[in-house]
């Protein structure tokens, strides 16, 4: 960022009721604060109390989101299964091409099998859980590359 950019930023907020601009570059962060009277505050903030064991997946999911990929999250708390039964092959593997709506996994809760469907056409980029893993509500299970 050059002095001229800063100048431009200052001119930008002059006469507006913006009182603070914060800018970062690594991992992009911006923070604009309006005066208390007007008070709308933009804050891009990550989940502050991330469950430790879900962090890696969350990070993966964020990267996915940033790079235009699609993350398929668990709609329920339960046990993840990658195949219809232990003796059968997984629904999908990394590299499998999938259609939107296609069953790609199962989350079992109280003997109820919740099928997990692909959210988009594309290629399975990552499978974030192993067969039998416990999963929480909202945890990412798969990353699909719609462009793949």
């Amino acid at each position: 960022m050059k002095i001229d950019d800063i100048k431009e930023l200052i001119e930008l907020i002059e006469g507006k009721d913006i009182v603070e601009i914060e800018y970062s570059s690594g991992d992009e962060k911006i923070r604009i604060t309006r005066s208390a009277t007007g008070a709308v505050r933009h804050e891009q903030k990550a989940r502050s109390a991330e469950p430790a064991d879900a962090k890696q997946e969350a990070v993966a999911a964020e990267i996915a989101a940033e790079s235009g990929m699609v993350s398929v999250n668990s709609p329920f708390v339960g046990t993840f299964y990658c195949a219809p039964s232990p003796s059968e092959k997984p629904f999908v593997d990394i590299g499998t091409r999938v259609k939107k709506g296609q069953t790609i996994g199962i989350v079992e809760a109280m003997k109820l099998m919740n099928t997990i469907e692909a959210d988009a056409d594309g290629t399975i980029k990552q499978v974030l859980k192993k067969d039998g893993d416990p999963v929480e509500f909202g945890e990412p299970l798969f990353i699909i590359d719609p462009a793949g």
């Binding site: 989940r47 109390a49 708390v77 339960g78 046990t79 109280m110 929480e136 509500f137």
Partner: protein, 444 residues
């Protein structure tokens, strides 16, 4: 005894239970919705699981999600707290079917007392004085009008599956009956899934006095004395104290005995509360029974020195009850103020970020809360952010200690009802103990 318990609740009561579990050497699992990711109960538990989105219906009221969460975490019991699924006999049953101990009464007892109309009938059958009113569901307007003629106005219309102050309407005038019955029926249907109504005589200037009991599930029951819960707004308790200025030893013994008789007859398990209305002449009427831990249990804990939550968990875990009626001594006086995130004038809930949070401390001041500096109070749930409870050796000192603690309590960023508590505590009628269920009206 259990090795791991899932706490199917949020907020201060989840924390209260997690604290008891930790003190008992039992691992705890917190559950949370996506709106509660930064909630304090998730930090204090040993483990935690996200069970659904912000809406209670899909998270804290989502029985399959709770049981599934307990299963993936390997918990052997579920504590429901209060509210949410705590008085749902179906949930209690599903827990037991899933091999998870439900830390609460037996499902059939929850069911019996959950239908307030059936409970009236049951208690009346024991020869105990219940509030004058109907023993059958109100069939139609005519039924209600006949009742009005029988027992006189004003009346209060309640939902059979309601309770805890919810779903009530007062009738002052016979002309209002048709309209109120219609509205009450449709509200009961949508709020409790059951349109059944019943009618009781409405006493305006009475006290709400309740007796805390604990049962061992086999007919052993001890009574821990009364709580004075007359200070209510919109039928919701606001300030509770123990003991009550209106209850002397003789009356206390009679109320204790009555409560014990009901609980013993049921074979009730764990802590429960029998609610009575007490009139000016010292006559008391059974109103309803709450088959769960109550918000205001700490006042009883502080005057008896007994840990009600630990005892509840021990009883559910199969241990013998450690209390006996002979050992129960009520000492001193305790008050609880419910600190809600709400506008003190309009009582509208006030969600948002808490910028400053200074908790009172010092001698005999207890805070059961879940707020902290920087905590963002979500708009989805109950507005209770902390219970402030004090003990002192008599009521006057207890009131002054509460005033001191309220003065110390600083919560900025959201509105709270602290100013209203201060006003009530400073009022002459409160000091004199001249309180009824209509007390708060003049302050709002």
């Amino acid at each position: 005894m259990f090795s791991k318990v899932l706490v199917a609740n949020r907020g201060e009561i989840a924390i209260r239970i997690i604290r008891a579990l930790r003190e008992l050497g039992i691992r705890s699992v917190a559950v949370y919705s996506t709106a509660d990711e930064a909630a304090m109960h998730t930090r204090l538990a040993d483990e935690k699981v996200c069970i659904g989105p912000a809406q209670s219906k899909s998270s804290y009221l989502n029985a399959p999600a709770l049981i599934s969460a307990a299963q993936i975490k390997g918990a052997d019991a579920i504590h429901p707290g209060y509210g949410f699924l705590s008085e749902d006999p179906g949930f209690a049953e599903v827990c037991e079917q899933a091999g998870l101990k439900f830390i609460g009464p037996k499902p059939q007892d929850i069911e019996l007392m959950g239908n307030k109309l059936k409970a009236r009938e049951y208690v009346d059958g024991l020869g105990i004085q219940v509030l004058p009113g109907t023993f059958q569901e109100i069939e139609d307007e005519q039924h209600a009008i006949r009742t009005a003629k029988d027992i006189g106005l004003p009346l209060i219309v309640k939902a059979a599956e309601g309770g805890g102050g919810r779903g009530m309407k007062i009738i002052y005038d016979e002309d209002q009956i048709p309209n109120i019955i219609k509205i009450a029926r449709s509200e009961a249907k949508s709020a409790f899934g059951n349109a059944s109504l019943y009618i009781e005589k409405y006493f305006e200037f009475v006290r709400h006095i309740e007796i805390q009991i604990i049962g061992d599930g086999n007919g052993g029951v001890v009574a821990l004395g009364e709580r004075e819960c007359s200070i209510q707004r919109r039928h919701q308790k606001f300030i509770e104290e123990a003991p009550s200025v209106a209850v002397d030893d003789k009356l206390r013994n009679r109320m204790n005995d009555t409560a014990v008789r009901i609980a013993r007859h049921i074979g009730y398990r764990g802590p429960g509360t029998i609610e009575f209305l007490l009139d000016e002449k010292g006559k008391f009427y059974f109103m309803e029974m709450n088959t769960r831990l109550q918000v205001e249990h700490p006042v009883t804990e502080l005057v008896t020195g007994l840990d009600i939550v630990a005892e509840q968990i021990r009883i559910a875990g199969g241990e013998k009850m450690t209390m006996s009626q002979r050992d129960i001594r009520v000492k001193g006086h305790a008050i609880e103020c419910r600190i809600n995130a709400e506008d003190p004038q309009t009582l509208v809930p006030s969600a948002g970020k808490i910028t400053t949070y200074l908790q009172p401390g010092g001698p005999w001041v207890r805070v059961d809360g879940h707020a902290y500096p920087g905590y963002d109070v979500p708009p989805y749930y109950d507005s209770l952010v902390a219970k402030l409870i004090v003990w002192a050796d008599d009521r006057d000192r207890s009131i002054r200690r509460m005033q001191r603690a309220l003065d110390e309590f600083v919560i900025e960023g959201i509105k709270t009802n602290i100013p209203l508590h201060k006003k009530i505590l400073a009022s002459k009628d409160f000091l004199l103990g001249n309180i009824t269920t209509r007390f708060i009206d003049k302050f709002i």
